[in-house]
Symmetry: C3
Subunit: 648 residues, 3 copies
């Protein structure tokens, strides 16, 4: 377990570097990430390279006993390159070019840019092939940030047609798979299928889903181009990429397949402001939401089923959310412990020093712009001191998460409030409220060994997945499936069979009706002797071969089945046909965990979370008041924002 | 009175058709509408026609004793055609092309598309010229849906110039009629007048109104191209088009002039969500608003002053509004009766079966995607059984509605809340609350025979219309005129005379001031001894030759006249210079009906409406509770959502 | 002090002019402004001029003893010119052309349009060179209205590159000054720097600020082209331009340098609706906000430190705000007195007569469209009668206002609510609540002679300005500096030193942290024994050489310094590190004025303001109830909307 920092020596005078790097070492930092936006500095004109400044910075870092993570600088092609090869720029759906002047302005499918990428990555990797201080590489930076996964340029149009041809072979197969008879949308050939531009009415959902898949695959392919070069030059390097939080357009699991290590960038007080339905509370503005952050920790840990890194950890106030409140005292230390508890092996703060120029001047660092320590510096030093080595997290429960389901439900949410993340988060939060560790993994993952599995929604479904889930339950698994499962086939068409399609046999019920409801409609559902609220989504179930555990108690649905379960072999499956409110989610998840024999805690208060890793238990308190929680071992609580409890 | 359905045999395997059609017949359906999006199936490549599937479907339907309404398939030109003649695509004001991938992507003024239209309509009509099962045709589908009446392409620019040249003859006449001296907007020739593109400030209101008129006329002309071909080939066919609800960019009265029958598409629980100012109540989410639907019934009945069809009747939950609540039990039957009470002669449910592909998978049918009956199926069967033949509606009151007034007030609403439909709806609702049938007709219509006429606003006014209204009143008519009448001349300019311009003589008053007010400003007006609220719009009247019946009681308007009336000949005219709140509208309309000797009911509760047709009275209950209402004859009420009361 | 009107003879038949002009003279009007949109009338085809109508109108006005302000007609290039030279049109950032059809569609940097401007201005000025009735000229009309200061066309791109080359000489100097190493934004040459177009992420703040400066300078240069022609032809003419209220994209101080007289266009009941954070109260909808209007009076008086004109005074209801309430009785007279109290020398009502054509038909005039008097006519006559000649305003306090600070804080507000105008208005309102006259001047202005100076924010700061402020205080000045001062250097980069940068020595403190907070976060700060609320922005101060006068009492800031002050030489400086709520602003400003020995009134109620000019005191009451206020001399109050109190 270690702590590090992101550093931009190119932003500061050479004479300052030694003092900076000395202070990093003093703070106990072990890793320094560099160079992710340095192309313009490394190659100020085509073919004129200047690596000496970077050589020197690496040398200094090595001299102080720290290691370097280098980045390929492809997120920011310089102006001379854009002027020379303007076709590398991305385009909006209406053809507007995404111009130079910020970052991520290149197209993943541009042959020209792939050529330039190969050139700069090779050159840079060769430069540091034998450098003993370079531990590894981050490819590019935050793929897809600023809505750049999906591009609509001519190169993308060609690549999309090729991608479709590879998948379908024959255009009639595509027409059949998508169902293009609807509204006379038949395609005469693959070239005729373009990225989805501006149309009078909404797009064909099968075309949109294909385009979203294609766009994500384009990033995977582009990243692989980089990882292959790096591995060829030095295959001892750790190769990683820094993903983002609650990021929706890129399949991180797919990209992760080409990495040695998954890392991500964690900004708790920003996330509660800009990627969550509920308005942030005052406490959350100060420390974030442990479940929102935790879900991302668990996705990225789940990606390779191994410890992850936080490649960028919020160091103080940041520039990009609507507001920039100062984090609570100690929050920067709390976040490091919280990450480690969820399986993080390293936490690198972003950035060393507040930047004097450009778009991120309002982003704090561990040091202020004049070099003096900022609020995060002491927190980072403390965390560096407190952390020790640990084995991996061993989670008893898996939560199934799929980017394709996210895309497909976003294409047809059928209610403005139907947000994939919020719906999945309802189940995740209920699990974490009981102090249970959760692997967040794709549905294709091997589920053997999980005592329980929660699938908030399995929207797109084929027989193969249904069969695997059946086997899991038959073998003794405890499975909880949420609403909208089995609505669609993998091409985003309705199957012949009623929902949940291929899962109907396992679940023992079909969906007679579904409806979506605005907030003003009162909703009630009975379950286990109590009545609960639900929200947004309701299904009315016909239970052919299952026990009705819950019934609707409101609206035209009154009396219809809403929750059913069934024993299958040595296991049991529950299907919940509504988006449960918090209390119903607690009840469903509590019953599941009990059935599965998973050790749980009494439901924890908001903001307080328990997590076990390698025999140690973390209790993290994201609230502004001390709390008392009964933990295994009955340890006494220290008043304060968090407690790193290490009791065996 | 009959019931039918919309069917897409091309979406289903051939072997399923017989079962589907058999079930239609079993349900008592009599009409099947088909083929409106079938061009890609009928002509998969240029000149390669495949009509056999459609021949067969028609044959099967005929075999089961039902009749077919065919549609010209022009709403969805296929991809091969778009690729061959891309100039047929529409353009946004900023030149963005409305691309292939949904529907309605063609321009009404495209010479290329008119050529293709002629080709496909002729070919298809000839194919079925002698088919005994084809009762008639629907031209295209929902002209203008997805904001497609107004296009901004080069073909439209040329056509607009020609249309203007036809109207004005000389460009100086246009400059004079519009008043282009303002801001130096003089046009040197007709070619210089383009569709209104992006400009720094708002457009000239006369230019906008001309463009809106032109765009609507373009659809009329395009539709006429189709109706003429159809009539030439077989003039026994019923020719119709399916209009939409609360639709604002197309003058339905003008299109109707070329039709034998007017039909429209009714989606009650969608309309309360997406085309009404007030938020939908829970009851309205389940059954819709009878007055919102009724106003449209009455517009389309009024268009040709003969019974209309509901060509698409909501069959259950639908895909396009924000939310998709399940309709109340029985709602699909209620809507059929409500349509018939308002003068509908046929109700066709849309669609037979939930579609497995494309954009409308979330739209219910009478049957589910697996072929089993959905909630609407029983309702449709019951309605088919209950309905019987009736004569036309004989309405004692006319409400004057004009698309040109709608366009002109939308161009200069002078308050964000001034919505033409909502304002007109205030008067319509007050009439329907008294159980009175209302013809909603254009101001040009002959008003003889109406006991009373309500004109919510006569914004654009010329002497001819003023003269006709004078004659109506002189001859004993009872006329109620609402605010903003006579503000403009037909070119959307202020007349020399103060408002109500040419109506000042009839009304006996002029408008001294008008003002628009946000909601937070309290408003009061006295009328008939009581005080009432009004909203959004206030005029201060100078009554030269009229009796002041109401005065302002708030703000700087305090004491000014707000409602005046005057006897003229054997009739009487009332002018109301405010947008009345519900209670004031009730009072004004109540007084009008009393004066006119129209039989009324005591004001009905919300959601409950009475309508008489051909000696039968319908009482429809759109609420979720039984109601008791005193009806003529004093019949007892059956508890339930609605009662079809047949007492002589 | 005089009253006038804006007149458009070209909109009315010739035979009506004499009556109109006679009525103007009867009302006591002295100035008539004309011709600002008349190009199409003056030159209907290239080279074919028709000035006779204007000659005649001027003659008639002169005959009635009034004088004419003519306008250059460049705000509305006619259609024939646009068709001939379409390159004069402006472009949006994405390349969309701002087309013909409204006004202000030309680009300030278009060489073609500058040529046409020179041609028409010369021609027109020569025509009236010796006309005795023409007192002066208004250049163009409302530069920049409808967001037209910033254009993104090719001409602007070239001009921007040249402007940058002039400023920086060498592109490396630009790269250094902006800090383009960040995100590899180095420019290879000046041609590579384009107007800021659509980019994936936000723009470099130094590039944006440069573009905003350049765009404002382009208007200055364009205006100078006109003023030089006018002066060359007759240098006795008064040359002015009519600015707008709370206008943010043009540096009015810079334009004013080329004028003899500054004028502006005042629409009190519009401004409270469309350019203020707080929702308008009912009273404000009727009469406006005296401080919002007053701030603009004081900016335009401050621009040349001499009396200003109101070139357009709201005459009644207007067309462009969301709502158009009727002004209160007497409001049109109140506004004239209020303007004069703030240093206005003339008030011209806009317009003479409600226009029958084009975009402004819903805009009242002093007369209605039929020529009869409208509500403003009597008010204007009364004002004309009551007003008498006065010397200039002598303000004891300066408030420092800078368009560059406005632009830079808008580029990085760091909170959606951080609005420069609202923040500055907090301090301005506190000053006006004490009845003190305020010069609103740029920070570069000589401050000698001001008893006190308030700088709401000095965001961009260099050593020179810091030195001048130090000298002001050392010499006995009383200075109050608000939050966010000294955050940036003049190129919008963070300086090395902590905030307030070059002001740290004067202030005696640095900013340890800053944060921005949404409304739901409770805030408290102690000052002078009381506790107050603040909003949106908080700094935590380290007071090295200053006395802490206020401390935070909420959040993680609790206990940190928030307000400090220090004696320097014979003066004193206070720094307030929060955006004060109304009460804290009152306390800070009250203490400042007391220290400075400025005579003040007890805090005035909202809507009531006192202003002294040339020995006379105006008490203006913008509320709907009579008020009693203790004024110097203890005069009794007349009940009503306002009182023009003249007591020595
Ligand atoms: Mg393609
Ligand atoms: Mg044209
Ligand atoms: Mg340039
Ligand atoms: Zn691309
Ligand atoms: Zn067109
Ligand atoms: Zn330009």
């Amino acid at each position: 377990m270690t702590v590090g920092v992101c550093y931009f020596p190119e932003h500061w005078p050479r004479q300052r570097w030694e003092r900076d790097i000395e202070q990093m070492a003093e703070a106990g930092l072990e890793y320094v990430r560099m160079a992710e936006f340095s192309w313009g500095r490394i190659e100020p004109e085509r073919g004129q390279f200047d690596f000496e400044w970077l050589d020197e910075a690496i040398e200094l870092i090595g001299d102080h006993g720290m290691e370097v993570i280098l980045c390929t600088p492809t997120a920011t092609p310089p102006k001379w390159l854009v002027d020379e090869r303007p076709e590398i720029l991305q385009e909006d759906p209406d053809g507007t070019v995404r111009e130079f002047g910020s970052r991520r302005h290149y197209c993943f499918n541009s042959p020209a840019y792939r050529e330039e990428t190969e050139r700069i990555v090779t050159r840079m990797a060769e430069r540091y092939a034998d450098n003993p201080h370079v531990a590894g590489w981050q490819t590019d930076n935050e793929y897809g940030c600023h809505e750049t996964v999906r591009c609509y340029c001519a190169d993308c149009s060609n690549a999309f047609s090729e991608w479709l041809a590879d998948r379908h072979g024959d255009v009639d197969a595509l027409n059949e798979a998508w169902g293009t008879t609807f509204w006379s949308q038949q395609y005469p050939d693959f070239e005729a299928v373009e990225p989805p531009g501006p149309t009078p009415a909404e797009h064909h959902p099968s075309r949109l889903l294909a385009y979203y898949r294609f766009a994500s695959d384009s990033v995977v392919e582009y990243n692989r181009l980089q990882t292959e070069i790096l591995r060829e030059i030095n295959d001892d390097w750790l190769v990683t990429h820094n993903f983002m939080g609650h990021f929706s357009t890129l399949d991180a699991y797919d990209v992760a397949g080409d990495l040695d290590l998954v890392s991500w960038d964690s900004y708790p007080t920003g996330f509660v402001q800009d990627r969550r339905e509920a308005e942030a509370t005052v406490e959350e503005l100060r420390a974030g939401d442990p479940d929102q952050v935790g879900l991302n920790h668990d996705i990225y840990r789940g990606a390779l089923e191994q410890p992850f890194w936080v490649m960028e950890q919020q160091p103080g106030d940041v520039n990009w959310p609507p507001h920039a409140p100062q984090p609570a005292d100690g929050a920067m230390r709390l976040w490091a412990h919280h990450a480690v508890a969820h399986g993080g092996d390293a936490v690198l703060y972003f950035r060393w020093r507040r930047c004097r120029q450009g778009q991120e001047q309002y982003h704090a660092g561990l040091r202020k712009q004049d070099g003096s320590p900022d609020r995060g510096y002491a927190d980072a030093s403390t965390a560096a001191e407190e952390l020790f080595d640990l084995g991996p997290v061993d989670a008893p429960v898996a939560l199934l998460h799929s980017y394709e389901n996210l895309w497909a439900t976003n294409i047809q949410p059928h209610a403005p409030e139907f947000d994939y993340w919020t719906h999945a988060g309802t189940y995740y939060r209920a699990l974490r409220r009981r102090g249970v560790q959760v692997d967040v993994v794709p549905p294709e993952r091997d589920l053997d060994g999980y005592a329980a599995v929660v699938a908030p929604t399995l929207y797109l479904l084929d027989d193969a997945l249904a069969t695997r889930l059946e086997a899991y339950v038959e073998d003794g698994g405890q499975l909880l499936i949420g609403a909208r499962s089995g609505e669609k086939d993998p091409y985003n068409k309705l199957p012949d069979a009623l929902q949940p399609g291929p899962l109907a046999g396992l679940v023992g019920a079909t969906v007679a009706q579904h409806e979506s409801l605005p907030e003003q409609v009162p909703t009630r559902v009975g379950y286990g002797g109590d009545e609960y609220e639900y929200r947004t989504w309701a299904e009315w179930l016909d239970a052919d071969d299952a026990t009705v555990q819950g019934r609707h108690r409101s609206g035209p649905a009154d009396g219809q089945a809403a929750v059913v379960d069934a024993e299958r072999g040595r296991g049991r499956v529950t299907y919940c046909g509504v988006w449960p409110g918090r209390e119903l989610a607690d009840a469903l998840v509590g019953d599941l965990l009990e059935r599965a024999g998973v050790t749980t805690h009494a439901p924890l208060p908001d903001g307080v979370r328990i997590a076990e890793r390698d025999g140690h238990v973390w209790v993290t308190n994201f609230t502004d008041a001390p709390v008392s929680v009964d933990v295994p071992g009955g340890a006494a609580w220290i008043v304060g924002h968090e407690r790193v409890g290490a009791y065996d």
